[in-house]
Amino acid sequence: MKDDRYSRQVLFSPIGKEGQEQLEAKHVLIIGAGALGTSNAEQLARAGVGKMTIVDRDYVEFSNLQRQQLFSEKDAENRMPKAVAAKERLSAINSGISIFSHVMDVQVEELEKLAPDADVIIDATDNFDTRLLINDISQKHDKPWVYGGCVGSYGLTYTIVPGKTPCLNCLLETVPIGGATCDTAGIISPAVQMVTAHQVAEVLKILVGDEQALHGKLISFDMWNHHYQAIKVNTVKNPECRSCGGNRDYPYLSPESQTKTAVLCGRDTVQIRPPERMERDFDTLRRRLHDGEIKQNPFLLSYTLNDHRMVFFKDGRVLVHGTKDIAEARRLYYKIVG
């Protein structure tokens, strides 16, 4: 019976019939459709959150399938953009909700458009540049967001409620550079699922208006070494914080802080973003590419020449594979694009 699809969740008294109606009226914005993003999105789609927007800049590869639960081998073979593949699978899981997907790199301009309509933002990104941007947007538009991060068998999460909790900028004080990534330390799925279990539970509490139930702690765990921590960090709230303090100026929303190039987590890949917004015309591009192998789908064009592969997206971005060196990636990019 279709009518009872949410019956077990409605029986759970903190949600109930009223909470279920709330969920159906709410909008969740998920930034990133990798391991955290797909897991969050599947749980929330099944829970019946009425509207979901999922944004991602990447496409599916075989190395994603071990943990990114919405994707299939076919998606990897076809190099489907993650946002597109995720939407297709989510719509098959629950046809009664609205799912919006965007193949884009999230920066200030994009977030300024997406955030105002959302009730909560889920961090499913793989880098602190974007997280600090989400953090500033969340403060500016008074939207709660749920941080999640994982690497190896370790993960952590924290729920940021503007006006109540410290923000990510209070906790970090600076953008961390380096550190372990999926690239260097790998990642196992249980660490992902433990993070998203916390994220989804927190999001459900926010959406049904049960903010008192939020855990209020910085939670971390190591699934291989059986260590679990939950630390109260309220005292870290900094009244001088530039993101959430009295004289805030949202430092990560300023044009200077925008990155045009980035090294992608878990990938030997550099992303180059053109300085201005553009729509790439694949026909024009194809005329410029003489040697090498070209593969194309409606969303992207993949070009391989010798050891290098570049993937051109409709929105102008290019992924340069086979290097972590930004200078080298730029050189290859300019050689082709001019």
């Binding site: 994982c150 690497v151 906790l171 970090l172 004080e173 600076t174 961390p176 372990a180 921590q229 960090v233």
Partner: protein
């Protein structure tokens, strides 16, 4: 000195005297870590000044970027 770090007893060499020393000893970047000493958060400004005592209970939370 013997202290408990993330649930495990650790024997520390004599030169590890402060929270800053401890982070250095474990090869952790102070910017990416939240430190709790005996259930109290240690402010980042005070990592150098926070002396370790025998039987302290330390929790170190590392921020990680992966996702």
């Amino acid at each position: 000195m013997e202290i408990q770090v993330n649930g495990k007893i650790k024997q520390l060499p004599k030169e590890v005297e402060t929270v800053a020393d401890l982070l250095h000893y474990f090869g952790l970047d102070a910017k990416m870590v939240i430190v709790e000493q005996n259930k109290e958060i240690v402010s980042k400004d005070n990592f150098q000044g926070a002396n370790l005592q025998s039987n302290d209970t330390i929790e170190l939370v590392r921020f990680v970027g992966g996702g």
